[in-house]
């Protein structure tokens, strides 16, 4: 008699297109397109730099120092008389590389430590939690200055490493609390009572469900890391020439920007657009993945 109350055949499914629906939002498309373009620039800087005929950032003519934009040199010349456009384009590569590399490194550390702390509990949790607290309590700039001054060579990789050293604790905390919540849920209990191994429970049950909020925060972190890199470089403790980066260009512009605002303007625009796109994308992903908005 209760059969009638039951649907016995599966209704046509409509829930498959969640990613399509997310991708259709303008707040996702626009930053995604901007980031795609920047990524292309980072991968093929020579092609983009050569668009106006003067594609080599290291061909400089001191007599043209801080001259304004002109045909063939759309962004003008910097203090050394190099083409600003070519420098900004080549700078994209190191800025994005630092952002992505730092985030990936800290995400790796955070996932490993956060998962151990979240699933094991007990003393492992206490040790890892105190460790993150210590790193969170460290003044970032001071720490970065000390560490960066003591490394012999400041390259994209070493700067990323230092930035990751100070940015993993935030993610680790997030992973830990997210993992803890999932570990207590009934489907994880069910998996454990089935006798599945710890590794399988973590990789199949806990992490796939716990990582969504972490990925969102990590996306936003890429933006803040790029800003940090520029800040450090501007202060003279980040990347060094002959590396090319937006931070270095901003640093060299600081003494002359009243005479030649274009030195400050163009690298800043690229920096701002990159960071804004990443943060907007992270925010709209957060909104789109929020289960309360997709009931």
């Amino acid at each position: 008699m209760t059969e009638a109350l039951f649907d016995t055949t599966a209704p046509a499914r409509s829930g498959r297109g969640m990613w399509v629906r997310i991708l259709r939002r303008p707040s996702v498309i626009v930053p995604l397109a901007a980031l795609g373009l920047l990524l292309l620039i980072a991968l093929l800087p020579a092609f983009f730099a050569g668009l106006f005929g003067n594609g080599d950032p290291r061909v400089c003519d001191l007599s043209r120092s801080i001259d304004g934009p002109e045909p063939g040199h759309p962004f003008g010349f910097d203090v050394q008389g190099c083409d600003v456009y070519a420098n900004v384009i080549y700078g994209t590569q190191s800025s994005i590389a630092v952002g992505v590399l730092t985030t990936v490194l800290s995400l790796l550390v955070a996932v490993v430590l956060g998962t151990i702390a979240g699933t094991r509990g007990g003393w492992a949790d206490s040790v890892i939690s105190r460790l993150t607290d210590i790193f969170l309590g460290f003044p970032f700039l001071l720490g970065a200055i000390v560490v960066l001054n003591s490394v012999s060579e400041r390259t994209v990789f070493s700067v990323s490493l230092v930035l990751a050293l100070f940015s993993w604790p935030l993610l680790a905390r997030l992973v830990r609390s997210s993992v803890r919540g999932i570990t207590g849920s009934e489907y994880v209990l069910a998996a454990r009572t089935m006798g599945l191994s710890w590794w399988r429970v973590v990789t199949r049950y806990i992490l796939p469900n716990a990582l969504a909020p972490v990925i969102v925060v990590a996306t936003i972190m890429i933006g803040s890391v790029i800003v940090s890199e520029s800040t450090l470089t501007y202060l003279g403790i980040g990347l060094e020439s002959p590396a090319i980066s937006w931070g270095l260009q901003l640093a060299s512009a600081q003494s002359k920007f009243q005479l030649a605002p274009h030195l400050l303007l163009f690298p800043s625009i690229f920096l701002a657009v990159t960071v804004l796109s990443v943060i907007v994308l992270g925010d709209s992903l957060r909104a789109a993945l929020d289960p309360r908005r997709n009931t």
């Binding site: 209760t2 109350l5 055949t9 599966a10 829930g15 489907y187 209990l189 998996a191 089935m194 599945l196």
Partner: protein, 543 residues
């Protein structure tokens, strides 16, 4: 004949989410007379709560309301917020399902009550407000109301919080009280008390009550008239006595038939004296906390579950019944005594023994929304124990998964669905399929149906019974619902505050309870029959 207090006429509610519109309530009409208790009954998604929310204008922005709602002569639909506020709390008050969630945890109940009183009558001074708050607490029968004013919500039990909520709702002497599942979150004995409070309030203050519930027992206990809703439409309106005796609509009949009742099943056959599958002997579980000291969750509990036998573990929330179940699967700290599963002691089992034990025990959890991995399809969920633990592969795996899912009434297209695409009952059937996939000797079912609607519950219990008779596993069935237990189990163990107070054959425990607490528990279960229920109430009051 008097004029109705509340008239709902042709009410339709549409929800528009992401551009798609769904109709929650379709041309519903009902009336509530002064001093009358009208029950609005239906399963989840039937639109009963939406109807009640519409009266107070509390629907979310995504809702479009059409039709008319009149409180005496005042048309409520179309009023702006300012005008609605003069109705809300003053002429119509509401009591919600979760009392502890509805009270502000950082203020004492006295403060919150006096606040409600001030809202109603700003001219009262402090002493006057205090006196009124005490009077209100007295009305909802809270003992020693004066000293309780300084209590905070966390210091009160769920039942007492619900009384405070009712007292706050009464502060303004409303003409209509809307109670949205007021007893669903409470234990049966507490539920009986709250229903009693509501009934006496109606008798004394002649407040009309619109009661929203899914529990036919509650309806039989309190309601004068019943409105049955299904999928947004009203399918039947009738007096309570008529409805239970001569239901008109097919749906009402189905609903009533699905309600489990005590005492409809013949006595079971004699028990198998063979070695028990689960043996709990003198079990003690202590939870230690540095702040609160030791809390004894389970206190010297002993019972056994024989092969092919279903033993129910019954008790109210906090009685320790779930903890006993978790001990059997090694998820709770055992401080003393023994738990043996198939002869192996859970304490001090070797890794290999533990693995065999996991294979012989299946578990079904309470919450269907949380018991399946959201990233797995139905097929993955059910095939995982087979492929990972037993190493079944390829065609054999697929055949066994199909067989398991068919045995719980799910097949074909359902296999590729994810948990969120299933209804609660379907999820619970997938959980059952997963739990029996390894052909366990023992199944531990922790409140498997308490989150489901009655008709869905009936179907899940059918599936459960069929599987049990075909696979022959022993089962520890943890539940707070005596009617469900009666329809399914062979023996019953009753727990109260960590202790086993009664343990025996189903019939003995339910019809001739030896313990006071069991007697109270059995007497508190509302019966879906208004006449019988009134009789039982008299008996309960007399004793």
């Amino acid at each position: 004949m008097t004029d109705p207090l509340l008239t709902i006429d042709g009410l339709s509610i549409d929800f528009t989410v992401d551009g798609s519109t769904s109709r929650a309530v379709d041309r519903a009409s009902l009336e509530v007379m002064p001093g009358e208790v009208v029950a609005l009954v239906g399963e989840s998604g039937s639109g009963k709560s939406a109807t009640a929310m519409a009266v107070l204008g509390l629907l979310p922005r995504t809702a479009t309301v059409a039709g008319s709602i009149r409180l005496r002569d005042l048309e409520l639909s179309g009023l702006d917020d300012e005008q609605l506020r003069s109705v809300r709390g003053r002429r119509v008050a509401m009591v919600f399902q979760d009392p502890q969630g509805a009270l502000n945890p950082v203020f004492s109940i006295g403060f919150q009550l006096m606040e409600a009183v001030r809202q109603q009558d700003p001219s009262l001074d402090r002493a006057g407000r205090r006196a009124r708050a005490i009077e209100l607490l007295g009305q909802v029968e809270i003992p020693d109301p004066e000293s309780r004013l300084g209590y905070y919500p966390h210091q009160l039990s769920g039942g007492q919080c619900q009384r405070v909520m009712i007292a706050m709702a009464l502060a303004s002497e409303p003409e209509l009280l809307i109670a949205d599942e007021p007893t669903t979150a409470l234990d049966v004995t507490v539920q009986a008390e709250i229903l009693e409070v509501l009934r006496r309030l109606r008798d004394r203050l002649s407040t009309a009550i619109l009661l929203i519930t899914h529990d036919m027992g509650v309806v039989a206990d309190l309601a004068d008239r019943v409105v049955v809703m299904r999928r947004g439409e009203i399918v039947e309106t009738n007096t309570a006595v008529e409805l239970f005796e001569r239901p008109q609509a097919d749906y009402t009949r189905e609903l009533l038939a699905a309600v489990p009742r005590i005492g409809l099943r013949p006595s079971p056959t004699a028990l198998d004296p063979a070695a028990p599958v689960l043996e709990v002997a003198d079990l003690v579980v202590d939870y230690r906390s540095r702040l609160r000291g030791t809390f004894r969750a389970v206190d010297h509990v002993s019972f056994t579950v024989g092969p092919h036998e279903i033993v129910a573990l019954v008790g109210e929330s906090g009685s320790g019944k779930t903890t006993v179940g978790r001990c059997a699967i090694g998820l709770a700290p055992i401080s003393g005594g023994h738990v043996r599963v198939g002869g192996i002691d859970v304490v001090g089992a070797s890794v290999a023994e533990r693995r065999t034990m996991h294979r012989t025990v299946g578990v079904v959890f309470q919450n269907p929304a949380a018991s399946l991995n959201p990233r797995y399809t139905v097929e993955q969920t059910v095939s995982e124990p087979l492929s990972v633990i037993l190493g079944v592969r390829g065609r054999e795996l697929r055949e066994r998964v199909v067989g398991l899912l068919e045995s719980v009434g799910l097949s074909g297209d359902w296999m590729s669905r994810y948990a969120h695409e299933l209804s609660g009952g379907q999820r619970q059937r997938v959980s059952i399929a997963r739990a029996v996939a390894l052909e366990p000797k023992l199944l531990i079912a922790d409140e498997p149906t308490s989150a489901l609607d009655v008709s869905v519950q009936a179907r899940v219990l059918d599936v459960f019974r069929e599987l049990q008779s075909s696979l022959g596993f022993a089962c520890l069935f943890i539940s707070h619902d005596l009617a469900v237990v009666d329809s399914l189990c062979d023996r019953i163990a009753v727990m109260q505050r960590g202790r086993l107070v009664e343990y025996g054959d189903r019939e003995d425990v339910l019809t001739r309870p030896g313990d006071d607490y069991t007697r109270r528990l059995v007497a508190s279960v509302p019966v879906p029959d208004p006449v019988l229920q009134a009789q039982r109430r008299q008996e309960r009051l007399a004793s």
